[in-house]
């Protein structure tokens, strides 16, 4: 039956049948929902993480950081589930190997709040330091704040609202920042665990 179906598809002119074995119709081919970003939450063991590109970040910092070459990502981390009372998981932003992968695969480096603040006027710098993700010992209460990533280290970028234009090798890519992937490591019971979190809009 499958063979008959395959040859029937050839007969009606489907591309790709010349000289090839008959293709069985598959429901896998139909799964073409539009990509709307990676899942924005991750749970590894008892460590929960969530990331957000806050559309109101300009109000938070008083200035548009993206046009200044810095992408602020709001991160929430906490412990969830059995064993959270006794867990000792310490997070330090500078030692979690945080990267932000734009959807074209370009990895943006993490920059510290002090590095970002150093390039800003004092009133904006104060907001950056105040809202930065500080880390610390994780507990059942959310530990949250902003991580910052630099757009200035790779190729040429131009901010376009919630997107950036990335020029590389003469190719211009328009990349939605909310399609990016946040990656970082957390030490859980002396073992590094990789976290991958999409960016909620």
């Amino acid at each position: 039956m499958r063979r008959v179906l395959g040859w029937l598809m050839c007969a009606i002119g489907t591309v790709g049948c010349a000289g090839s074995p008959p293709i069985v119709k598959s429901d896998v081919v139909g799964a073409t929902a539009a990509f709307d970003g990676f899942p924005p939450q991750a749970l590894e063991g008892i460590v929960y993480a969530q990331a957000l590109f806050d559309g109101d970040y300009e109000d938070t910092f008083g200035t548009d950081l993206v046009t200044r070459g810095v992408v602020p990502v709001h991160v929430t981390m906490q412990l969830r589930g059995q064993g959270q009372e006794n867990a000792q998981i310490l997070i330090k932003p500078g030692r979690m190997d945080a990267r932000l992968y734009l959807i074209d695969g370009t990895a943006l480096p993490h920059v510290t709040a002090d590095e970002v603040a150093g390039a800003l006027k004092e009133k904006f710098a104060r907001e950056v330091r105040q809202h930065a993700f500080q880390g610390g010992l994780l507990g059942s209460e959310p530990n949250e704040g902003y991580l910052f990533f630099s757009l200035q280290s790779e190729g040429e970028f131009e901010a376009q609202g919630r997107a950036v234009r990335h020029d590389v090798d003469g190719i211009q890519r328009r990349l939605d920042l909310t399609h990016s992937l946040l990656a970082f490591d957390v030490m859980v019971e002396d073992t590094p665990k990789a976290f991958y979190v999409g960016i909620q809009r």
Partner: protein, 294 residues
């Protein structure tokens, strides 16, 4: 003359006196196939993206779709062979907890996985419109023979399997459930393997497909999950896709966390150190599921 053919004619009238754009794009696709086969994945990716930047318009959907397929393949190949994307450099106090050292500039496997999602999502979006493009223009085929014989359907399946493999490696369980909701036949092991063979999915990506379906099935159909777990461990160790920890995690589910006991015809329980029963020679995959606790 059909209206559709007329519109192509109008669009391409200015091109009549210049080189056939479909042929130029076909050559890019042909060269990209050669480059990917020889491991020159960055060259293939650059040329394909340049082609995508110039070949706009509905008449090019078919070529754009296959460019996305080849870009997905180029990044998939690069991720397991020789990554050309890199991790960030010059980043102050960035620190790799695994190596206990600064790690800027090392090859970025994850970057390529993300790029696979980027390009496969374009291809998945264009798949439905490939029928709007001509197969031939001015007596020239618009696709290389290899891609014509491979077919749009296989390319679409390939990109969906890549999507699943990447989500599996990045541990997006909820995302996998959503994907499998639209690709139910992948939960049938024989069907899943037949499809991976049919679209020639790379050996290094297959363990992640098995692992993704295993994680999905273990909350729904444990005996079925067991079969995917076995194939994930077998293929994952064969191509060194998994670290020892992940392989051990899967084995632990079989031996401790499942409600079933998996046994050979000689009633020998699954042993992660063995490939099958030492009495009957039955491979692990053929073990039976016996309900131990409801």
């Amino acid at each position: 003359m059909k209206l559709k053919s007329l519109s192509f004619l109008l669009v391409l009238l200015p091109a009549c006196s210049s080189p056939n754009p479909f042929v130029e794009n076909r050559i890019v696709l042909e060269n990209a196939i050669t480059h990917i086969e020889s491991g020159e994945t960055s060259t293939a990716a650059r040329d394909l993206e340049l082609m995508l930047a110039t070949a706009e318009g509905e008449e090019f959907y078919l070529q754009r779709f296959f460019a996305s397929y080849l870009l997905t393949q180029a990044h998939g190949t690069a991720s397991v062979q020789e990554p050309f994307l890199s991790e960030p450099v010059g980043t102050g106090d960035r620190f790799d907890v695994r190596s206990q050292s600064l790690n800027g500039g090392r090859p970025s496997r994850i970057g390529h996985l993300v790029a696979m999602i980027y390009h496969s999502s374009h291809g998945r979006a264009w798949y439905g419109r490939t029928g709007e493009s001509p197969l031939e223009w001015e007596g020239e085929r618009v696709l290389p023979a290899q891609l014509e014989s491979y077919g749009t359907e296989n390319a679409a399946i390939y990109m969906n399997l890549c999507f699943l493999a990447v989500y599996s490696e990045l541990n997006f369980q909820d995302g996998i459930a959503e994907l499998l909701a639209g690709m139910g036949e992948l939960t049938d092991l024989e069907r899943c393997e037949a499809l991976m063979d049919q679209v020639e999915l790379e050996a290094e990506l297959r363990p992640w497909v098995y692992r993704g379906v295993f994680e999905h099935q273990k909350k729904r159909d444990e005996p079925n999950a067991y079969r995917f777990a076995i194939r994930a461990r077998e293929t994952g160790s064969a191509v060194e896709a998994f670290g020892a920890e992940l392989s051990a995690q899967i084995a632990r589910w079989i031996t401790h966390d499942s409600s079933y006991r998996f046994v050979s015809p000689a009633n020998q329980a699954f042993d992660p150190a063995l490939e099958g029963c030492t009495v009957t020679g039955t491979p692990n995959l053929m073990y039976e599921a016996v309900l131990e606790r409801p």
